[in-house]
């Protein structure tokens, strides 16, 4: 599931790759790093919050579902084109048998969870794509463009 981030239509201007062991404590690190990276485009503060939630959901899924209690690495790749942020979250964990079913709101294989993570990503980002092979891993690809047209006055 790694190294699949080279199918963008427009040119990549900047890229950030993060890699860390599957630990709940790293979910916050990932969302803060991607938010700081995303701020290079003209996202509003609300949009940056949306991105943080989406990244948090995808990385949480890699940790909680992908690897469960087994060790493994999570890889987050964030890319910027001139007007879009693309984020890919990949694990080499247990994978998903039915990616369509997984995306249904409130569907979860864990009774303690809400089954809303992928729905949140879908609502908060412009696009989401889920690819998975059971036993091999999962890749979530999401993208978002800033909605505001004019840049904040005085920002350099």
């Amino acid at each position: 599931m790694f190294g699949e981030e080279n199918h963008l239509t427009s040119a990549i201007k900047n890229q950030l790759v993060l890699e860390f062991p599957s630990m709940a404590e790293n979910v916050g690190v990932a969302r803060v790093a991607v938010a700081a990276f995303a701020a290079q485009l003209d996202f509003s503060l609300d949009e940056i919050e949306d991105i943080k939630i989406a990244v948090s959901e995808a990385v949480t899924n890699a940790v909680v579902h992908g690897y469960r209690d087994r060790p493994g690495l999570v890889r987050v790749a964030a890319m910027l084109t001139s007007d879009e942020l693309v984020v890919e979250v990949a694990d080499r964990g247990k994978g998903i048998a039915d990616v369509k079913k997984a995306q249904e709101p409130t569907f979860s294989t864990d009774p303690e969870r809400l089954g809303l993570g992928l729905s949140f990503i879908n609502s908060l980002m412009d696009k989401m794509e889920l690819r998975s092979t059971p036993g091999q891993g999962t890749l979530v690809r999401m993208s978002k463009k800033p909605q505001q047209t004019a840049s904040a006055a005085g920002k350099v």
Binding site: V27, G28, D46, K52, I53, V64, L114, L116, G117, F120
Partner: protein
Amino acid sequence: MRLELRRQGTILLARCAGDLDVASAPAFRERIDRQLHRYPQIIRLVINLEKVDFIDSSGLASLLGRYKEMQRRRGQVFLVGLRPQAYRLCQLSGLCKLVHVADSESSALARVEPRP
């Protein structure tokens, strides 16, 4: 995440600060549930999220879990000081239909009727 718990009779007040996500949710859950099990008389749980900077579906799940526990004892949950982002997720998830949402602790406490 920082969590401050105060019990006043049948009310448990939980003041939360920082991030409520998959890393902090287990401690949030355990510390509140410990109080609930120790004091079966608690029937109103007031959770102040004013200082919560971040919340996601794992955080929401820990709120919903406390709601279910309070349901079991026919009690109520009040969420106080939801920031816009948290409020939106709360609505997207349907949690806002289950719990009581209040602007401030005092308005939440004022809405708490004495035990019948």
